[in-house]
Amino acid sequence: MTTFLNMKLNKNLEHNIKVFTDIFSQDETLITRTFENQIDNSVMCCIVFIEGMIDNEIVNENIIEPIVKNQLLKYGANTIDKLRNQVILANNIQKISDVEKLVEGILNGDTALLLEGSEEALIIQTRGWQTRPVDKPESENVLHGPREGFTESLMINLSLIRRRVKTPDIKFTYRTLGVQSGTKAAICYIDGLVNEEILKELYKRLDDIDIDAVLDTGYIQELIKDSPLSPFKTIGNTERPDVVAARLLEGRIALVLEGSPFALTLPFVFIEYFQASDDYYDNYFFATINRLVRVIGYIITILTPAIYVALVTYHHEMIPPPLLISISSARQGVPFPTIVEAIVLLFFFEILREAGIRMTPAISQTISTVGALILGQAAVEAKIVSAPIIIVVALTGISSLLIPRLKAANIIFRFVFLLLSGFLGLYGLVFGILALLIHLFGMRSFGIPYMLNFNSFKPQDLKDTVIRAPWWYMQHRPKFIAANNYIRKSYSKANGGK
């Protein structure tokens, strides 16, 4: 790594240019362009920038043109200030002599302007690179509600959030993460709503990060999460600015990272897995039904294979006789025990899922056809597996799609439960469920109980859990998270925010 700590600018332009060409040696994207004023050609300048990171129009029309064509410019001791104040047309110019800062600016797409006879340089904001336009959030489709999703540009993302919460109370604080990547992150929160303790804890954890690069918020999520060994997330992420705005208004904190279209929100509690942004835009009856479907889907997706195996291999008396007979007939001639059938088919399902994700739509259609044919029909007809297990696995697979964010945890617990009930029947399954509950109830996200409101039967606490109460009834923010300002409505200020 180049050390530029000992490199200093002096009054010689040639030397100063060499400082940068040395630092960026063998980097051919670094452009240095020397020019002088038409009238007084002792005003010699050099702009240093990286090709592709800057907006050429700004550099040509607002830096080069005014300096070259200026009729009044005379070389003198304060030329550099004159350039800054009277000549260059840019909204953000800083006078810096620190080489390290200049290099950082250049790397961020700014242009450094060096002047013959000056130990100081100007750093002019000329950033301008191609970014993806604001697009639909692919991972969080909605029927109702805004269609804007985050992009890879931090500034665009912050503006998307700011446009939704127009109050000076919303704060954006920058942090730079990653020693090599120097990625800019913005921590957003609403002053007065945010729980200061959580904010302090977040800063502490961010400061503890020691890594060379963060290329996506996923890095940070993993680096600062509570219960690092748990498959459950304790920090949420979203592609949707409206979700971030809603979370901020509940007193949560968001972290937006340059280069990542996913913003982190924290603290994150278990019920958020089941909350979709549609819920808040649709009729509350419909939203409640959808919530229930998701919760039941979750239970189905982790328990169905285990319950099926337990009933079929241990607790035959719990199956109604006609069903017992039809399962028994379907199993005639199948070579593997039920538990093996279940494991193999669930694994097949995961193969199909993983194969489909990264394929173009055209190929993934082939995959689903082949998968459906091979697994659905041919395998049953060839007596490799029995038909009921196909139904069980299909049900499991479909309902796992209801809560896509729980994928990892689902796969793990599904297999653990399956093995437990395969060896011990329902007795083992009950042990597994107990262990899962103990794990979930023991977790914390930034000090907030992970199962917030799950152990309560008070109507106030249940408003936004399995049911989604009408908006006029949701007068309170989630407890603990927005501890300082519990009441949602405008009178919260009049009541001193308590």
Partner: protein, 386 residues
């Protein structure tokens, strides 16, 4: 440090034991077992002859269960069951067995050995229905072809389930029978099943009661008598009463439908002057279901007469059945003894030892109240126009 290792090892041991000492090691694949639908028990010489109906499931797309009947002898029931593996090849699964049919011979000799296994074994259900065969053997009941479904035992258990609409046979499950046997102050009964020939086809006929004294069968009540027996023990859920009526001219049949869950019988023991008697109070709500003539029993005065006559014949019938049981079988199937035990424990202690003698001559009085609430859709009898 040593303590930590010790506690970890101990807790690991406890945790592992939780799995190993449960006694739940009964892993069995469905296709490896023969699902028993019902069983008939006979005696041949000293040996028990077990006839088992298995829901045999052929493999294939359409899972139509077939009835497969196997039988095997053994010194005990358990022995016979194990012997069946020789012929069926698969282990029998008793969790869904619906009925146990016992032959008269076994029942007369003493029923305990035949049913002990079914109430002791964890797999067989305590709620399996018990029946006594009126035919020579129990096996022929189970072997009788069903007209409605493939599995014979399923049909019989369906007959038992819809029996409450008729009230012509009691429905008794294994645990109820065992409880009655061990409880005291009451004798056990079981439903009786036979084969009747109807339109050239033979079929089951579930009708009547097998009367036990202690654990031995001593006789049967027919279907009609069973109904009045069920009135006494307050087990009539629905059914009908047929009343022959006439105001003038020939008698016509008026059918009274007993409305579901309306029958209530209260039995009160009366002890006066050192003599015991039982007072029965029967109240029923009925509707006129059918009138076999054109006389009017729907409005007064016909209605009052019908009510009075129906009450009277019900009272007489109950008395007749009780007398019959007292005289012929000398078995307290009505549970009068246990009622006295509950209501008058002091008196019971005195008479407990002489109960059999006292029961034989126990007087009963019956008081009934039949409430006729409607006559279905018609307000009048059907009268032929002039």
């Amino acid at each position: 440090m040593k303590l930590i290792i010790k506690t970890t090892l101990l807790s690991a041991l406890f945790f592992l034991n939780m799995f190993f000492i449960t006694g739940c090691w009964d892993y069995r694949e469905l296709d490896e077992m023969a699902i028993v639908a019902g069983v008939a028990i006979d005696k041949e010489g000293d040996k028990y002859l077990l006839t088992v109906e298995i829901s045999n499931v052929p493999s294939g797309k359409e899972a139509k269960p077939e009835s497969k009947i196997v039988s095997e002898k053994g010194d005990t029931i358990f022995d016979a069951i194990r012997n069946i593996i020789k012929t069926s090849g698969k282990e029998l699964y008793w969790g869904h067995s619906d009925i146990i049919i016992l032959s008269q011979e076994i029942a007369r000799e003493g029923i305990i050995q035949a049913i002990d296994l079914f109430s002791r074994d964890p797999e067989a259900r305590m709620s399996t229905n018990l029946l006594i065969s009126k035919e020579k053997t129990a096996a022929e009941i189970l072997e009788q072809q069903s007209t409605t479904s493939a599995i014979h035992a399923k049909d019989i258990s369906r007959m038992l389930a819809s029996q409450y609409r008729l009230s012509k046979a009691p429905v008794i499950e294994v645990y109820q029978f065992v409880n009655t046997l061990t409880g005291g102050g009451k004798s056990a009964v079981l439903p009786a099943i036979g084969i009747s020939v109807n339109q050239g086809k033979s079929n089951w006929e579930l009708s009547g009661t097998a009367v036990f004294k202690k654990d031995k069968l001593i006789g049967f009540l027919d279907g009609e008598d069973t109904k009045y027996f069920l009135f006494v023990i307050n087990k009539v859920k629905a059914g009908s009463l047929i009343q022959k009526e006439s105001t003038e001219g020939p008698k016509v049949n008026v059918t009274l439908e007993i409305l579901p869950e309306t029958t209530k019988t209260k039995i009160k023991p009366v002890y006066s002057d050192g003599k015991l008697s039982m007072e029965l109070d029967v109240s029923i709500t009925v509707a006129i279901a059918e009138i076999g003539g054109s006389e009017n029993y729907i409005s007064e005065p016909g209605l009052s007469k019908l009510k009075k006559d129906a009450e009277k014949s019900l009272e007489n019938n109950i008395k007749r059945v009780v007398k019959k049981v007292q005289n012929d079988y000398d078995s307290d199937i009505f549970g009068f003894g246990s009622i006295i035990k509950d209501d008058m424990p002091d008196v019971w202690r005195e008479i407990e030892n002489d109960w059999e003698e006292i029961y034989k001559d126990l007087d009963i009085s019956v008081n009934s109240d039949i409430e006729i609430i409607n006559s279905a859709l018609l307000l009048k009898p059907i009268k032929i126009g002039d």
